[in-house]
Symmetry: C2
Subunit: 237 residues, 2 copies
């Protein structure tokens, strides 16, 4: 029997990365889930990620601590107000203040380090081009450039034992299509947290960009979002 190929999956515990993780498993990979605790307000995400990784039974789950606050510059890591309501999804209206500088570049670089140690050639990232709220490091041209760079960066690639592929299975899906896909694969979205400012009890605010996107996604396929909200959201979208 041939061993399954290994894949590193960037995994936050939200809808997109949880769906991505299950897609990687469905495609036959042994999954190594990588989560970052980077001084963000929503540390609740980390606990959700741990529960999901255990529930899904990944091969290994590593939580890397880092402090991106040393550089300042973002509402998700600095003491700024998180905006309420939907942020425009294209970049003609600028980039939201929830943007963290070079976030995916840093996260992918850690994934690359782990992939090299594991002798894995595959990295999964749950970005999508439709709902990406204007983050430049979610676009296809960026992902392609990263993959090209990665194949010049590692010992294994230089020695010809590794050809890195960055998989972005959600890239062209809407939030509704992502949720539909995950439900077909048996994802329990009650375990996932998307909110930028959950309560201490893990209830989502229902108002931030991430909550609105999520609620709209479930509404579009006529499903109820199983997440806990601190206010009732039925009939409000």
């Amino acid at each position: 029997m041939v061993d399954k190929p290994k894949a590193v999956v960037l995994f936050s515990g939200g809808i997109d990365s949880t769906t991505t993780l299950v897609i990687a498993m469905q495609r036959g990979f042994e999954v190594y889930a990588l989560t970052f605790q980077y001084g963000q307000r929503h540390a609740m995400e980390i606990e959700a990620a741990r529960r999901i990784a255990t529930h899904i039974a990944v091969a290994q789950h590593i939580v890397v601590e880092m402090d991106l606050r040393v550089f300042g510059g973002s509402a998700l890591t600095a003491d700024l107000e998180v905006p309420k309501g939907r942020v425009p999804s294209d970049m003609t209206h600028g980039i939201p203040v929830t943007y963290v500088p070079a976030r995916n570049t840093i996260f992918l670089s850690y994934a690359l380090a782990w992939a090299e140690v594991l002798e894995a050639s595959d990295i999964f990232l749950g970005v999508n081009a439709l709902d990406y709220s204007g983050y430049p490091d979610c676009r296809p041209a960026y992902i392609e450039a990263y993959q090209h760079m990665a194949n010049l960066a590692t010992k294994a690639a230089v020695e010809g034992r590794q050809h890195l592929t960055i998989h972005t299975p959600l890239l062209h899906l809407s939030k509704a299509q992502i949720i539909q896909k995950g439900l077909e694969l048996g994802v329990d979205y009650a375990l996932t947290i998307s909110c930028y400012e959950p309560t201490a009890h893990g209830e989502a605010c229902g108002c931030c960009d991430a909550c609105v996107l999520r609620l709209q996604g479930f509404a579009a396929i006529d499903r109820k979002d199983p997440a806990l909200y601190c206010v009732t959201t039925e009939g409000t979208r």
Copy 2:
């Protein structure tokens, strides 16, 4: 009077990065020095870096803590023996075990994050192609690919306010030429530490790859290395 342009310099406190830092200043940049404390044995480097940054009077010096040991895989971060003696400098003999997976990729990604926050377009990295001991992420093709990716990664690049350049002023210099250049620019190499295994008093071992390269560099230009060694090195090279 026009403000100086800002540059982020990756800065370990060794010969190469200290020379690179001074070159960046000579080229008219306001220098932001970035050092990583990543669980390596030679934490003495961090103290050297702090002393040099103060001595040279950089605009700001940030030390970022990270733990690359979570992934294992290298003598500099795991509990493996550091090899004694010169490691072959080309890759036909393989890559040394002192290799840290994806190290420059991770370091440059943090530099990119800080550059974005500072609105800096320039990053300096003290890699060189002649003495690079076989690290794939020091080669020119890698640096070019990284720069291309970086220009697709940031908010500022997307908005046209930033065109990132990764400067590698040492790329085609030998260790002797680097030292010669630094001495011309007034670098005090007594402050720098290169050794992979310095003593608790900051004395270099004189035997590891980094020490041997350094001693050979000074010998080639008939200068005495001002660093402290735990054994006398005079006449031995």
